[in-house]
Amino acid sequence: MSEIRDKIRCDACPVLCYIKDGMTGACDRYANRGGELVRVDPHLLLDRTLAQGGPVVPFRKRDEWDGDLVADQPRFVTAIGAGTTYPDYKPAPFIIATKLNGIDMVTVVTEGIFSYCGVKVKIDTDRHVGPECAIVRAQGEPVGHVTTGEYGSQMLSLGGVNHLTHGGKKEGRVTCETLLDLCNGKPVELSIDNGVTVVVHAGEPPIVNGEVEQRMRVGCGSATIGMFAQQWFGKVDDVVVVDDHITGVLSEHQAGKVLGVTETGIRIRGRKSTPGRYFHVAEPGIGWGGTNLADPLTIVEGFDPAKAWPGLRLFMVSTTGEHSAYYVLDEALRPVEAELPPELVASVARVRENCEPALSTVLFMGGAGGSLRAGVTENPVRLTRSVKDMLTRVTSGGAPVYIWPGGGITFMVDVTRLPENAFGYVPTPALVAPIEFTMTLEDYAALGGHVDHIRPVESLRPDYGQTVGPSEENPWPLEPSSPGRRRQR
């Protein structure tokens, strides 16, 4: 019967509506268009015209439309709002064909549900945020841990399947909420066991124990000596750059030796590494140079009377130039604080100037190695291979990603390069992140893609979805070779 033939059963939700051609289901989100189930609610498109200053077609419902005006616009369909067909034995919600410089390109668009995912947070600060492996908490729940630090930065690893699904129910929910907020560019307060409380906000300065971190250190204490030795030489007799990692001493350091700085007989606490370089001069903390020092003289044991002299000028500075002090030795060779001479004030300013603005940065990391691939191709491993062979380009909300080598499609993306509120979540709990696979039609067919489900980008009605301009720092997703311009901060 024709009535049976012209209706389809929608299995996008458990209601399982029968939908007639030209009608929508009970949700108004899925419709039957000529026997095909399509999703009709807003879905995000990147429109290159916006970025190139071309004519803008406003996003609004229109009774009639000028198809030509829209069809010529380069348009990239992101996965944001695309939905998914998990578990994806069905083709991905959108498989879109575009012509680029005469070559047929295909973009497979889906939202991935990632229960194996997390974020890596880089916090530009010298301050000790907590011991390595310490638990990081949000709302009191464990959501991750402190991992190995990087140069000038502290690193956190948050989320992951253990916190999301293997911990308590509340732990999973809070972890999911934390990841979602971080990925969508919202500030999140985290507290670290035996460490600090830090507010992380992607692309913004971190706030450590209530203080906004302004600058990254210029280098470790030893590196700072190397960089500024020449500028200090002659203006002062000795310089100590206080740093929790490596504290540097000018008169003993190779840089000082080369310049011919006289020995001062200064004795520094801590463990001497190589000449002029000291480890562990104090405990980590939020004082001078990431140590717990409020008074830097604590690390100066004294001066060798055979080498030091009354009137010796000692300059102490932290690696960020945030702390500095100037001392002159008295008759008993005890340092007495004095006013910083103007030329050293300038040098402190120079250290500061060389410190880059401190930021928190958040990379989302997730593995698309699972069934999601089946929405792209009938033989999932071929998608993995195609990505590894660089035949298929992966983007997330149109932003470039880094694909981790090895098995699966494990990718990282800077969350600030995606359009706003690109991430969502499901109560599993798991994060929902957009992911797009772009390749030539030829390659798509070769890897066993759902070629019969490809539709041209022009078939998306002009009022379909929500159109935004691409981020100018991102390369245009359909042109793998075009470099993006990083935002100047």
Binding site: C27, P87, T428
Partner: protein
């Protein structure tokens, strides 16, 4: 296979839960930890709500006076209770109260775990309200959803028994047997308001009128609970007398519901004209929308709720 329920925060902080046809916008007010707990409660409850309903879908699509058994699901039971007062006198299925019942259920899940100043759960225009004794909600009413501008606001205070607001009409998402553009009902629960709005909107009618186009519901939605009953798909330009007559029958139905204490108030809209029944605390410009000054100002009216 099925999409799972989705949860997200709208840019302004409101909670948005959606799963299939259910689309909730939720906002709670109160202490930060209470709001957080309430949202968590809503999310937890939401996870299975559609699945529960779908398990009993054939049952809750049957006319309420012919139910083979009492449903097991608590939401389905709310639906049955909401339509029970009507089922002896007319055709009605528990589905008439599904949106309101879901809103009530989620709101209760929130207030059970947190003490809030006030909160609302808006299920596509069917709204459940929680109000402390001194709290107040201002429910904005818009005449054209595609051109949102407030034509009036209804003040709902903690002292009043109103805890639910719902709208029904043939221009809305669900089918209607009547011709009302919109009927907005205030009642003591969202499910009660939902069922009553359906009943009153059905009553605003001109049976057999040549300018009203109707088709069997199954032709639009093969699995509609309304079966082959005729639902309104278009209404031509009606004469003032016709409008008057249709609103009068609707008003009579609404009057009865107010007198039986099933609802607190109702506002009926048809072709630019409106009627208010009961104590509808509507302020300001609403009267303008109700009684156009001249024929030329007459226009189709949708009622939609925007909470402010």
């Amino acid at each position: 296979m099925s999409e799972r329920p989705s949860v997200c925060r709208l840019p302004d902080g409101r909670l948005h839960l959606s799963h299939g046809p259910i689309d909730l916008v939720i906002e709670a007010f109160g202490r930060k930890d209470a709001v957080r707990a309430a949202y968590a409660g809503a999310i937890d409850r939401f996870e299975t709500i559609l699945d529960e309903l779908c398990e009993e879908l054939p049952l809750i699509r049957t006319p309420a006076d012919r139910l083979a058994r009492v449903p097991e699901g608590v939401v389905a039971r709310r639906m049955v209770a909401a339509v029970a007062p009507y089922c002896r006198n007319m055709f009605i299925t528990p589905m008439a109260a599904v949106a309101g019942a879901v809103a009530d259920e989620i709101l209760e899940a929130m207030t059970a775990v947190a003490t809030l100043d006030r909160a609302y759960v808006n299920n596509g225009g069917d709204i459940a309200l929680a109000l402390g004794p001194h709290a107040e909600f201002s429910v904005g009413i818009v005449d054209r959803p595609d051109r949102p501008s407030l034509v009036g606001t209804a003040q709902v205070t903690g002292g009043s028994p109103v805890r639910g607001v719902a709208t029904s009409g043939w221009r809305g998402r669900s089918f209607s047997l009547g011709i009302a553009d919109a009927v907005t009902v205030l009642a003591n629960s969202s499910a009660a308001a939902d069922a009553a709005a359906t009943v009153v909107a059905n009553a605003v009618d001109l049976p057999g009128h040549p300018l009203v186009e109707r088709v069997p519901a199954v032709e639009l939605q093969p699995d509609s609970d309304l079966g082959d009953r005729l639902v309104t798909v278009a209404v031509g330009t009606l004469s003032s007398d016709d409008i008057e007559l249709a609103l009068a029958t609707g008003r009579k139905a609404a009057d009865l519901l107010v007198r039986e204490c099933r609802i607190e108030a109702a506002a009926l809209f048809l072709a630019g004209f409106g009627r208010v029944v009961g104590e509808l605390p509507i302020a300001g410009a609403m009267s303008v929308a109700f009684i156009p000054q001249s024929e030329s100002e007459r226009r189709p009216v949708y009622a939609r709720h925007y909470l402010t």
